[in-house]
Every structure is written in structure tokens, then in C-alpha cells.
Symmetry: C2
Subunit: 203 residues, 2 copies
Amino acid sequence: MNTLGYAILSVLGRNPCSGYQLATHLEVLWPAKHSQIYPLLTKMEQNGLVVFEHVEQTGKPDKKIFSITEKGKEALGAWIAEKPADSILRDEFLIKIYSMWTADENHATELIHERIAKLEHKVALRDKKIATVEDEHKHVSSKHFGRYVLLNRSNLLDKEEISWCQWVLKLLENSNVIRFSLGIASAVTFNKIIQSISFFSEI
Amino acid sequence: MNTLGYAILSVLGRNPCSGYQLATHLEVLWPAKHSQIYPLLTKMEQNGLVVFEHVEQTGKPDKKIFSITEKGKEALGAWIAEKPADSILRDEFLIKIYSMWTADENHATELIHERIAKLEHKVALRDKKIATVEDEHKHVSSKHFGRYVLLNRSNLLDKEEISWCQWVLKLLENSNVIRFSLGIASAVTFNKIIQSISFFSEI
DNA sequence: TTAGACATGTAAACTGTTACATGATTCC
DNA sequence: GGAATCATGTAACAGTTTACATGTCTAA
């Protein structure tokens, strides 16, 4: 069993659901496409980790509702007790930021503004989700506690990244000020600008 | 060419280096094993994006020092101008946190403490790296500016995650207080505890 | 003396993405 | 009329990891 399998067991541990629903719920935990989820569910069902029930629907296609079994819960519990593997982040944005100034300096501001817009959008969506979490699910005793704290985690981190973006924008702006004013600026003005650039690193 | 290829070009854009060195430098940009890097470098060399020079060494194995070509710079520049793909984060810790309380509540505190330790270790290492960045490389004009801002980004985010971990620990602690004191606590005390639990969400 | 850094490569296995396949319903 | 949602599946391909291979030097 791979990590995706345990992620699936985690989601099913709260609510039985279809492969289609799993694909959306997994997004925050361990992103996967339906083409990976369906075959794995079949395999897990054969191994007795999950069971499913056919649900006929009118107007919509029929679906299979999967639930976790006792064996599945045991397997999940054993896996959780192991130390988690190091996290892996793959983000093209980081590569582009890294090389931005060697390749095309003017494009940098646009790239960062688009990043901010995306992050703000994500935060807004999650804020709505957090707002619908009822107070009784915000406590350790609730099975929705894990989801609640993870939603908050993502938002804290995304907001922090927005702050970082704004810091970088400030650095870019200040460097433009220097460039435009170098011809007329006195040494005193220049030093003031240089000092203002490092305002963030002192926080 | 895949994203790893552009990540390699990005690193070579600053400093020519060997496949072995690339493996370490790529860690923050696009993690990859040497078994993936070496064959790709050969392919990129055949396509004229990079060139290499044999360097004989005594005591150590010989190495190939790769540099980016003009064609490589053009390819990188064109790729940077495209919109970055959505970032992908795969983190087993998140799955374990999500399921922690259904499977084994007592283990949660340990898991989070280990997370904090790891994050603090990473931050300390990066702080050292940031400290060695000279002031002239902290400006947009430097080819090390990208690395400098990315180091700061990672540290800001890791520090924010440490705060989040401490918030979760607080929630867990408070729930224990409630559990232990329920038999003797007055309604007033109970309400005070409940209020203290949400202190963080008001920030 | 044993682990880790330096250094490069290949092969097999596994994981993940894209494309192919089908089809009704609802909302703009 | 077209896109999105619901719903499940397979096949081919691309990307990533683990294991196999080899060998020296240095520091704990």
C-alpha cells in the first residue's frame, strides 16, 4: 500500500464516499486524479481494507459508496504510528523566482502579483469553509478536528506567503527608485533608500 | 523538456557545476535524485542546452562541470515567461494529523513536537545560509537575489508553521485540562477554559 | 573501523498524468 | 449551444524512487 491508499483510508474514516467525492476531498491531503483513485480502490477492496455499496441514482450515473473496514482502520492506525516521510514541495513558481532576474527582470512584478491573486483566492475559499465548521467540530473530540486545524494551517501559511510577496515587491520597487533617482540623488538620500530596503529583515 | 530540466538550467545559470552538486542545490527548487539528474544532463547536452568540461581530480573521482549555453538561456527565458503550473505539496504529516484523533489521540502531541523540532532545525540551517549572503547579493541586481528571497520565504513559512503547531498543542492541552477538571470545575471555570481555546482564531 | 562526502552511471519498479471512452443533467 | 458537475473506468506515457554498481579519502 502506498501513501495515497492511507490518504483514502483517512478520508473514508470520517465519511463513506464515492471515488468521485474522494478525488475532491483528497485535494488538501494528497492530490490524486480519478485515474489513480479508481484502480486503487478496487485493489483495496480486494484486500479487505474497504467495502462498497452500489447506489443507484436517477438523472445521475450510479455510484459506489466506499467505507473503511476494521482491517482498514487497523492498517491506518499502524501507518500513522510510523514517522512521516519528509514533505515534498514541487512549485514552478520558485524556479521562476530564482531565475527571474537573470532572464527577464520586468516580468517579475507580474509573476508575483499573479501569485498574490491566487493565494488570496485560495484563502477566501478556505475562509468560507472554516466559517461553516460548527463550534462542536473545533474540538479535539470531533472527528472533524483534523480537517479544521489543517484548513487553518493552509490559510496561515498562504497569508504568510502573501506577506513575503509584498516584501519582494517592495524590494523591486525600491530598486527602481534607486535606478531612476541615481542621477540626481545625494549620498544621504541614497543611504536612506538602502536602509528602507532592509526594513523587513528586522521584524 | 520537463520542469526538472528548467530547474537545472536555473542553477547552472548562476554557477557551472557538476551533477553531484546540482543534486544538492536543487533540493530547495525541485528535489531530484542523482539517478534522474545524470541521464537528463546527458540528454540536455545532446540538445545543446548545456556543455560540460571534464575535470580530473586526485583523491576524488573525476567530475564533469556543466555550464548553460546561449540556447539553454533562451529556452529558460521562454519557459519563465509561461504561467507556472499549480504547486503540489505531498506531506504525510498532514494525513497523519487529519486522522490522528480517530486512530490514536495520545500520539498526536509527540507527532507535533517532532514536527516542530524538524522545522526549527531547518530554520537554523537556513539562518546560517542567510547570514553568509553578502549585502551586495541582497539586491535585485545580483544573480543571487533569487536564492536570497527564497531562503527568506522558506524561513518565514516554516516559522509560521511552528506557530500553528504550538496553537494545535494548546488546543490539545486545553482539552486535557477540561477532561481532568470536569469533575470539580465550576461552570465559570469551564467557560473561561472554553474561551481560552479560541484565543488564536482572533488574531 | 565505519560512516559520510565525493563522484557517475544504469535498470527495474513504482507513482502520477494525460488521453481515451461514455453519457445524462443543469446552469449560463 | 457549450461548459460544468456527476460518475466510473482503462491505456499509454512521463516522472520519480529504489536498488544495483564502483571506488577513494577523511574524520569521528
